[in-house]
């Protein structure tokens, strides 16, 4: 099948070496009538094997995720939008900062529009998105997510609309009521939107995601708060102490998550430490954890606004990298047949086959 990735064939022995060894064997056979030493290692050896210790020729047992790039991008946008809705409600409830409330509502509403667009783009045929809404299935995180997104889009849109209307028609009760009510509903669905993506990928058959089923919802929530705060600060709310504190809290939690991910080292978590996915997850972790934390604390102590801006950009890029990194890790994990087949001795087998090749 053309779409199954071929297992990697270890270092090849050059033809010349085998030919030389064959000549030696022939000479020895002529001279002594028998050859006791092992023969040649053919080009491409050791070949993938089908056995209890190697699985089926090393062909991946699981299928790789087939989401397009839009899906991790949606994880980022949806996560930030959900957190922005919470910020909007908190700011409207506890402060008089109308500008911050307006921008937070707009960021949430923009996320509520962009997110379904990204998902529809992933499905290929736009009308197929409607099939998501033909049933509500609590059992399926994807269904819960689709409905949450639909509700969030509606409420965050209504809240943003009411907020803008309030500026034009004045502070009348029905408009204020609409804004506050839909704002509360948007933040309630927003918390789900920012966290469910962790459940979505955690509760799957992909080993590396599955192994972090408890970590992922926290991780994605912190990542969402971090990027929402950063977007709002970059939109000109860098005088808000609350956003600054929230940014510090989210970055600090990301530091903790980073340590947790780094300290767990086993065959299941290999994609988080090695290869492209490992580099992405690690870079994402550093950019959304220690870097913004240090910069924000520095900004708090020295009052340097530039440091705060750099922290914002770092958090956003880190959050984006984290989402892409985790999806990439899922690909790498699905390709590793050793984990689902529980090939405990797989490491040893690989080592011995490398020795054989050498």
């Amino acid at each position: 099948m053309s779409r199954v990735p071929l297992p990697e064939i270890p270092a090849r022995t050059p033809d010349r070496e085998s030919e030389k060894r064959l000549s030696e064997i022939r000479r020895e056979a002529l001279r002594r009538g028998a050859v006791n030493a092992p023969g040649v290692t053919p080009v491409g050896a050791p070949f993938p094997k089908a056995s209890a210790s190697t699985g089926y020729y090393g062909i991946p047992m699981l299928k790789e995720p087939q989401w397009t790039k839009e899906v991790p991008l949606y994880f980022f946008v949806g996560g930030a939008a959900g957190a922005a809705a919470v910020v909007a409600s908190a700011a409207s409830l506890l402060t008089d900062d109308r500008a911050l409330v307006r921008d937070a509502r707009l960021v949430a509403a923009a996320g509520g529009i962009i997110s379904p667009a990204l998902l529809i783009s992933d499905l290929g045929v736009p009308s197929r998105f409607l099939n998501m809404l033909r049933v509500f299935k609590l059992q399926s995180p994807m269904s819960v997510g689709a409905w949450t997104l639909a509700a969030f889009g509606t409420f965050s849109g209504a809240a943003a609309f009411a907020n803008l209307a309030r500026e034009h028609v004045g502070d009348v009760l029905p408009v204020r009521l609409l804004e506050n009510l839909s704002g509360v509903l948007a933040s309630a669905t927003g918390t789900v939107l920012s966290t469910y993506t962790g459940v979505l990928i955690g509760a799957t058959a992909i080993p590396v995601w599955n192994d972090h089923v408890v970590t992922l919802p926290h991780h994605f929530a912190a990542s969402g708060v971090n990027s929402a705060v950063s977007i709002l600060e970059l939109l000109g709310h860098d005088d808000s102490r609350a956003l600054h504190l929230l940014g510090i809290a989210a970055s600090a939690f990301e530091v903790y998550e980073g340590i947790e991910v780094e300290s767990k080292r086993n065959i299941v978590n290999e994609p988080l430490h090695k290869g492209l996915s490992g580099a992405m997850v690690r870079a994402g972790g550093i950019l959304s954890g220690p870097v913004p934390l240090a910069l924000r604390v520095g900004a708090l102590m020295t009052g340097n606004e530039k440091m705060r801006r750099v922290a914002c950009w770092s958090s956003m890029i880190g959050s984006l990298l984290t989402r892409f990194g985790w999806v990439q890790a899922g690909h790498a994990s699905a390709r590793d047949h050793r984990v689902p087949l529980k090939l405990s001795e797989a490491q040893e087998v690989r080592k011995s086959s490398q020795e054989l090749a050498a």
Partner: protein, 282 residues
């Protein structure tokens, strides 16, 4: 229903179970009888009109199909045990072994794909099959990452997910699935599930009596998958055939995940409120 009886009768006179008599059906693939002819693959492709799946050589075995997928619903695995290079001989232990086994969707008792499907496209048929309704599937590909056996796959050109239908159309008409019909050695057996399970155990006993003591039945009833509607009899460790020892349905992790999400959502809300609590009203 009025047009069905003629065919249905043919099915019944054949002695096969059909979709109308309320029985739960299953496949029992006895790999000790498989000769690797791939008639099942061909019959499946012909009946279900599946597209070609490319011409690519695996370069390490005679199996060039490699895995079941959106365009391969039956797949014969070739477990080749080569002789040790340079030490080849004619003693029994040194002879080349060649095992075949026809792989297929397992139609799990607790199916990960079915539970994950957000549109309700994946349903359980009355005879136990797990069926993807192509007119409802929207191509979200969540079933792909939820299958513990790596069976269901999205067709990138069509954009929807496909897998073995258990020939639901044929079963409804009282016919055997195409692969079981085409199998020349009756390696693929089709019938009522408990009868087939008994048959599998009889066959295992028979083989053991003949000295084939490495034969095992692969049917993970003790895992969260709760058994499969397509079980296998293979020689040696089933892992050589890419059959996982402990397949788990991902749904069992949801409770933990949602609990964690609820805590995260609460923390998010609390932290935000706390941060703004310190803000002075201007």
């Amino acid at each position: 229903m009025s047009t069905v009886p003629a065919i249905q009768q043919t099915g019944k006179s054949d002695g096969h179970v059909n979709g109308h008599d309320g029985k739960i059906t299953a496949f029992f693939t006895d790999s000790t009888l498989c000769i690797g002819c791939k008639a099942c693959e061909v019959a499946c492709k012909e009946w279900n009109q599946i597209s070609e799946d490319g011409y690519q050589w695996s370069s390490f075995s005679y199996d060039n199909t490699m895995a079941v997928g959106h365009s391969t619903w039956r797949h014969v695995k070739f477990v080749e045990t080569p002789t040790t290079v340079g030490l080849g001989g004619n003693a029994a232990g040194e002879l080349q072994g060649w095992g075949f086994s026809s792989d297929v969707c397992k139609h799990c008792e607790q199916a990960g794909c079915l539970e994950a499907c957000p549109t309700g496209a994946i349903v359980r048929m009355e005879f136990g099959a797990v069926f993807v309704q192509p007119d409802v599937c929207n191509g979200c590909s969540y079933c792909v990452v939820s299958c513990p056996f790596g069976v269901v796959e999205k067709n990138p050109e069509d954009g929807r997910a496909f897998k073995c239908t258990f020939c639901s159309d044929r079963q409804k008409a009282g016919l055997k699935p195409a692969c079981a019909q085409a199998c020349p050695t009756e390696s693929i057996k089709f019938g009522e599930i408990s009868e087939l399970r008994a048959e599998a155990h009889d066959r295992l006993e028979q083989l053991k009596a003949r000295g084939v003591d490495d034969a095992v039945i692969y049917d993970p009833v003790d895992t969260s998958v709760k058994g499969i509607h397509a079980f296998f009899l293979v020689r040696g460790d089933p892992r050589a055939y890419n059959l996982p020892p402990e397949p788990e349905i991902p749904t069992i992790y949801q409770k933990k995940a949602w609990k964690s999400a609820a805590v995260a959502a609460g923390a998010m809300l609390g932290a935000t409120l706390l941060a703004f609590l310190g803000e002075n009203r201007r």
